[in-house]
């Protein structure tokens, strides 16, 4: 489900690289001291050159602080290029790697039928795919295409836990720059495609293959053709309402999908009536969801979702707290650097010079600790992200469950329809036998009714088949969810812990050095 590498080694973390001598030149003219967080670019991604003009008199070597992350994966080290390597998919996926990049603005030509004069601009993204049977594809898609893909998958794979697509809305983008937004979207789209590719069923779908490989316009029909469906529905509605003939019946070919707007207005009304009847425990015995195992699991999933939500929230708060403490530690270090510099410049007595070097010693340690925290956090975010991802997955589960209920509702509605059709047929037949020689119009009606019944029977069988199919999908997906979740959570815990250990060890050694260097003051006191 996650498709991320999950191998973890418990090797000893690599020993911190040999540290530079921390002698700070006391007469070093310090230009404006530059706090770690002030410049726009993240120094971890773009480490300053050794001869950088800013920073501290003798900045701790970045090699001290940056070393292989402890989560055991080989994902991008912080000194890699600014965009991390795209997530690889699962070992069974036909796709090795999918990346989304190179956002470009394009102009939509003013179409003749377009209601909007002139053209509108939109962003397209380059989708590069490496396939397992070695191949490489590159296509351009816009966000609307992703929506189409998602809709088609939802239709074709009812009952499956299909990874939810990124939101349409931008929400808090008032503050965000266009560039940031595009980057966020790009990142989200990339993750989305990777997750799709990693899904055992969806990953092999034609829809996805077409999306990733077909050049030019996306050859998937957009599901919601609002105008035609409304027109279509309006035309059919009167005949359906008057219940005339076989055209009134819902055909088997239609029950494969839940009732949506447009065409299926009448069906929607019927099913709504049915669900109300179900709720009120109406006359007909409803088809109860008797699968107790399913109900239990559903409850468990709901419970899981709730706990995931809380845990996800707290994980975010934890990460923020780690970030804050790291920042403050850095500010503290900065303040002490300034003090040290000041005392050095103004020193009249030796005691001042000694104190100045103590200040700088502490400042250096504090700054290193601060950078450590930042690194720690970057890794923590990656691990704890598992919680957020599974929370997002709950949406897919809800969809799958509602696929099931709507399929069930269709079955129930059809059964109820059949019931009333049979009753009408019986009544009509009973009435016509009373008339000697038969009543030609009535007989005709009875035959039409029988035809409708036949169609409805077929539809019912189809609906039941569909329902069973979805049930099975639900079941196997739930199993997969449990299995993969176990692996992913285990990986998360391990990664989180190993990460914490690594950085705590490092911090301990940084401070141990200061303890050693200042131990004379404690001895004096005793």
């Amino acid at each position: 489900m996650m498709g991320s590498e999950t191998h973890f080694s418990f090797d000893q973390p690599p020993p911190p690289p040999k540290e530079e001598l921390e002698t700070l030149a006391l007469s070093d003219p310090l230009s404006a001291v530059d706090p770690p967080s002030s410049d726009g670019s993240d120094p971890l991604l773009h480490p300053p050159s050794p001869s950088s003009s800013s920073s501290f008199p003798d900045p701790p070597s970045y090699a001290d602080v940056i070393f292989t992350p402890f989560n055991g994966t080989t994902t991008a080290s912080p000194t890699a290029a600014s965009s991390p390597t795209s997530p690889a998919t699962s070992p069974t996926s036909p796709y090795l790697r999918i990346s989304v990049s190179d956002p470009q603005k394009e102009q939509q030509e003013a179409a003749a039928t377009s209601l909007v004069p002139g053209g509108s601009t939109y962003v397209t993204y380059l989708i590069t795919t490496e396939t397992r049977d070695p191949g490489r594809f590159a296509v351009r898609r816009r966000f609307r295409d992703f929506i189409t893909l998602a809709d088609r998958l939802a239709e074709s794979y009812r009952g499956h836990f299909i990874p939810p697509r990124p939101d349409k809305s931008v929400v808090e983008s008032q503050v965000m720059q266009k560039q940031e937004f595009v980057e966020q979207r790009r990142f989200a789209l990339e993750k989305y495609l990777s997750r799709l590719a990693a899904h055992p069923v969806v990953g092999r779908s034609d829809e996805l293959a077409v999306f990733l490989k077909a050049q030019g316009r996306l050859p998937l029909a957009r599901s919601i053709d609002v105008a035609s469906r409304v027109l279509d529905g309006a035309a059919r509605l009167p005949s359906q309402l008057f219940g005339e003939g076989p055209t009134a019946a819902v055909g088997p070919e239609e029950v494969g999908q839940p009732a949506k707007g447009g065409r299926d207005l009448l069906r929607m009304f019927r099913e709504l009536r049915q669900s109300v009847a179900n709720d009120w425990g109406g006359g007909r015995p409803p088809v109860v969801e008797e699968d107790r195992e399913f109900l239990e699991r559903k409850e468990k999933v709901q419970d899981l979702e709730q706990q995931l939500s809380t845990a996800s929230q707290q994980a975010e708060a934890l990460v923020k707290a780690q970030q804050d403490i790291g920042e403050t530690m850095g500010e503290l270090g900065l303040a002490f650097f300034k003090l040290g510099k000041f005392e050095t410049e103004e020193a009249v007595y030796d005691s001042q010079r000694i104190r100045a070097s103590d200040f700088k010693r502490l400042a250096t340690a504090a700054v290193r600790a601060s950078r450590s925290y930042r690194e720690l956090n970057a890794q923590s975010v990656k691990h704890l992200d598992t919680l957020h991802e599974y929370l997002g997955m709950m949406l897919a589960v809800h969809s799958a469950f509602s696929d099931r209920s709507s399929a069930l509702l269709t079955v129930q509605t059809l059964m109820s329809d059949l019931s009333s059709l049979h009753t009408r047929a019986e009544r009509l037949e009973a009435a016509s036998t009373k008339i000697f020689g038969g009543d030609r119009s009535r007989t005709r009606k009875v035959e039409e009714l029988k035809e409708t019944i036949r169609i409805t029977e077929d539809a019912k069988l189809c609906a039941i088949r569909e329902y069973e199919r979805i049930k099975e999908n639900n079941r196997s997906e739930l199993e997969r969810l449990d299995r993969e979740r176990r692996d992913d959570f285990l990986g998360m815990l391990k990664g989180f812990i190993i990460n914490q250990i690594g950085y705590a060890d490092k911090a301990a050694s940084v401070w141990a050095q200061v303890v050693e260097e200042t131990s004379k003051y404690a001895r004096e006191r005793n």
């Binding site: 994980a315 303040a335 000694i354 391990k494 250990i501 200061v514 303890v515 003051y521």
Partner: protein, 405 residues
């Protein structure tokens, strides 16, 4: 010279940062301990036990215990400031302005520690330790103390709170007075000028460092809190999982809560042994500024008197030349004034001399204080880091079991 040999006879609750008096005779060691809340409502206050151990003849007996409150300490400080001009009087902790914080355990402990340090600094200062007021403070019964305190309050027409306000007013005037902005009449001593600017800039730097230290304490508390919340949430999440994985979650949650406590503890340690010394440093600098005000005033006084005396002398000569009857009176006045002038000059010079000694002591003292504070800080951080590493490490075998099962 402050002797640093420890005093085996001193109570264990004496703050480790308090300078211990010399063990060889004579010795004088004080402990401030056992804070107790007395009184009700608005009148409520904290009283402390002050235990004095000494072999000095001026003091009654080997050990004496008295009960003192914060305003008694303020009285002592004010008296010392009044009598020992030129000496950097050890600073007192501030009066709390936030009502509900006034009786929090943390605040009381911080104050107790600060008072202990204060009284010991006074008791080990070569000049201040000889103060009669110190003896009164350490020895007299509570009624005598109260009488002395309220009497002084009357004379000075100010209460501790007012003094702070006055001090603040003085602070703002200090810049003018000390930096000689008010009048062009100031001593032109380049070394002293340098010192003045040093002190003023130092205060700014220290205030910043202290601010960050205080913030760091808060961050520790916040991290502790979120670890606790996170631990709880993880435990609940683990309940959704079965068997070994569920257990692993539960253990992780417990460790998280455990570490939360460690963080709260470290926050407290940071506050007492790192942030407080920095605050103390700031206060010490402010005390120096007050001394600088005294020096400036003394300088101006001796200068004014010297000028006035000169004029009087000229006037006297004139009168004597004119064989005026008023010459006798004038001569008498002149002699008086001259004596005053010489006295003022002596006072001023004494301040100058004392200050030069004090500044050396101050620098040495602060290097030692900061060194110790850094040591405690680093020790605390190291300890915390080790606890964190150990706690998480203990989970690894359990996680290993999960993956194999």
């Amino acid at each position: 010279m402050i002797s640093t040999t420890s005093n085996s006879g001193s109570s264990s609750s004496q703050s480790p940062r308090s300078p211990s008096a010399s063990q060889q005779q004579p010795f004088l060691s004080v402990t401030v301990t056992d804070p107790v809340k007395l009184g009700n409502g608005v009148q409520a206050y904290i009283s402390y036990r002050v235990i004095t151990k000494t072999n000095l003849p001026e003091y009654q007996g080997q050990e004496k215990i008295v009960i003192r409150r914060y305003s008694d300490f303020v009285w002592l400080r004010d008296r010392l400031a009044d009598k020992y001009k030129g000496i950097f009087i050890p600073p007192l902790p501030e009066k709390s302005t936030v009502e509900k914080f006034r009786f929090s355990a943390e605040f009381i402990e911080m104050r107790r520690q600060a008072l202990d340090i204060f009284i010991n600094r006074v008791a080990s200062h070569p000049e201040l330790k000889q103060s009669e007021d110190l003896r009164i403070f350490l020895q007299e019964d509570e009624e005598t103390m109260e009488r002395a305190r309220t009497q002084e309050t009357g004379i000075f027409k100010k209460k501790p709170a007012d003094f702070m306000q006055l001090f603040k007013d003085v602070q703002s005037k200090v810049t003018d007075v000390v930096l000689g902005k008010e009048k062009p009449i100031e001593e032109s001593n380049p070394e002293y000028e340098k010192l003045k600017h040093y002190i003023f800039e130092l205060e700014d730097h220290l205030a910043e460092a202290q601010k960050q230290a205080f913030r760091l304490v808060k961050r520790h508390k916040e991290l502790g809190q979120s670890l606790s919340d996170f631990g709880k949430a993880i435990k609940l999440l683990g309940a959704c999982e079965g068997d070994s994985l569920g257990k692993a979650f539960s253990e992780l949650g417990s460790k998280s809560e455990f570490l939360s406590l460690k963080l709260q503890k470290e926050a407290h340690n940071l506050l007492m042994n790192f942030e407080e010394p920095l605050k103390d440093y700031v206060r010490a600098v402010q005390s120096i500024k007050a001394t600088m005000v005294d020096r400036a005033n003394a300088f101006r006084q001796q200068y004014d008197l010297a000028e006035t005396t000169k004029l009087k002398e000229i006037n006297l000569d004139k009168l004597m030349l004119m064989r005026s009857e008023r010459a006798g009176e004038a001569e008498f006045e002149y002699k008086e004034l001259k004596a005053e002038s010489e006295e003022a000059t002596r006072r001023y010079q004494s301040i100058v001399k004392l200050m030069s000694e004090e500044i050396v002591r101050f620098q040495e003292q602060k290097t030692a204080d900061m060194g110790l504070a850094f040591h405690e800080f680093a020790k605390g951080q190291e300890r915390l880091a080790k606890e964190i590493a150990d706690a998480w490490r203990s989970l690894i075998p359990k996680l290993e079991k999960c993956s194999s099962s």
